[in-house]
Assembly symmetry: C2
Homo-oligomer: 337 residues x 2
Amino acid sequence: MHTKRIACGAVLGLLAACMPAAETADPLPSWNEGAAKQAIVEFVARVTDPTNAEFIPDARRTAVFDNDGTLWAEQPTYVQLAFAIDRIKAMAPGHPEWQQEQPYAGIVSGDSTALAALTMHDVMQIVTATHSGMPTDEFRRLVSDWLETARHPRFDRPYTDLAYQPMLELLAFLRANEFRTYIVSGGGIDFMRAFTEDVYGIPPEQVVGSMGALAFEMRDSTPVLVKEPGIDFVDDGPGKPVGIERFIGRHPLAAVGNSDGDLQMLQYTAADPGSPLVMVVHHDDAQREWAYDRASSIGHLDLALDEARARNWTVVSMKDDWKVVFAFEVKTGSKGP
Amino acid sequence: MHTKRIACGAVLGLLAACMPAAETADPLPSWNEGAAKQAIVEFVARVTDPTNAEFIPDARRTAVFDNDGTLWAEQPTYVQLAFAIDRIKAMAPGHPEWQQEQPYAGIVSGDSTALAALTMHDVMQIVTATHSGMPTDEFRRLVSDWLETARHPRFDRPYTDLAYQPMLELLAFLRANEFRTYIVSGGGIDFMRAFTEDVYGIPPEQVVGSMGALAFEMRDSTPVLVKEPGIDFVDDGPGKPVGIERFIGRHPLAAVGNSDGDLQMLQYTAADPGSPLVMVVHHDDAQREWAYDRASSIGHLDLALDEARARNWTVVSMKDDWKVVFAFEVKTGSKGP
């Protein structure tokens, strides 16, 4: 027994020598050197070093990310709304009554003034018309199919190409350090689950989002889960910490958002007794992406920006902190539009 | 490079020789040889063998378990109800009005006839009185403290000692084969999360349960999640597949239950296009545990037993299939009461 144990120890030593020297490579190559990158690297070093007072065991390493405007672009409109609008157009031949009825008529005719004037009530109507009445797997397939053909109006690329490269690196860096990376988004959970695994490496069980009603039904002796009209849970604002507690049941050690809808999630994460990573992505790069905050209805960032500055949370300047913005810049070497 | 690669290949070979020969040890020592054990072992072999047509990649290996009556005992009353009753007694000094008011008066006076006559409406009142009005972490602490001192009336042991040893082995065997093991229970999510990690090795994020209302609040500038009166989600019957879709977003490959409240979860799992493991624990051992099914209000098993037999799901006989029943028998060598 002793002989075997010693031999195996030696084998493990040899194995370590065979491993690639991962720590010497920069895990965040798309981040410029600066306070934001330093905050990330120091946070991970702190919680993963067993000799540090703030060491956190693997099982408790949880990080939460907003999606729209945090992991991918949300301008000129939320991707999910672009999907809903395209679905209305695709469904219109089966709904002749929409020719006369607003908000459908304006969308079907492609009237950009009508689109710009959509109220929250209109949006809810559109979402209900396009996001209910079918099993969840059928809905996910509609989303996947759409994502394969739809193009972003400014960049003329699939929407999924507009994931932020620095955030993909941050997700991978956290996962390499045994974090579970969750999305906690106001977006629809079924919409997101159609692409988060492929695009972000985030599996369905780590996606928290807003939810419509869902019903268990037998169809031809086969059980299906059918999306129904009506909203069961809004995962936005104070709903985000509620979603975290309900779905994860653990206090996050890191949270990243970009709008006032993320404020309570950031506050909740900031209350961790250790030194959590609390981060706000600031869209200040009109050239490579967009510049917007307090005056924007999409990704409205006002109170959360003030609180981030007052409490020394990490504010990421897309312009200054990010060497590249979009995943496609790395994939193709292109520098955008 | 070539030299290094060859050397490392040799090291990996040596390492394999150093690994304990896990496959030769029986992963299910508390299961008697028989159809149930065979169904488990063959199921795991099928989905983990990359050369088998039914091979499932790690990421998709998901198993769902009911809790009460499936992972631990639910007689003579659900453990969560025993907790609620003890809480009513503990809280009674602060509620003098309960001396006159039912169902509280009967509970406070320890009247066993009153306890036996509790209606579903009474139970909801008791649960509301004991499960709301405090932050989730405070509630979990109450549950943990209670579990440390409360004793099961028949076995005079902590309730957590009444986890089923064969199910602990099944959970561990599935996890050793890269399954994520979820609880999907009609029990309260916050109640279960107080003990599932310690008792079953199931972390909070893999617990799906019924949920009360939850509110985000600032108390002394500290964000807290406060349990409020009212039920948001009942994770029972058709609610179980809904909970699975909402929390996990994947079709399970294995499901284990013991009552009609699990029927839709079993049907949903059985609809997997491969050969899923669908299992019903049958309480037929009055000597070592309890014998109950169609006539019992707790753990009522009628339709699900018929369907299990008609569709050749695996019915586990506690009497015939389990060599030992409770975890404490293994821990102490005792054979029960």
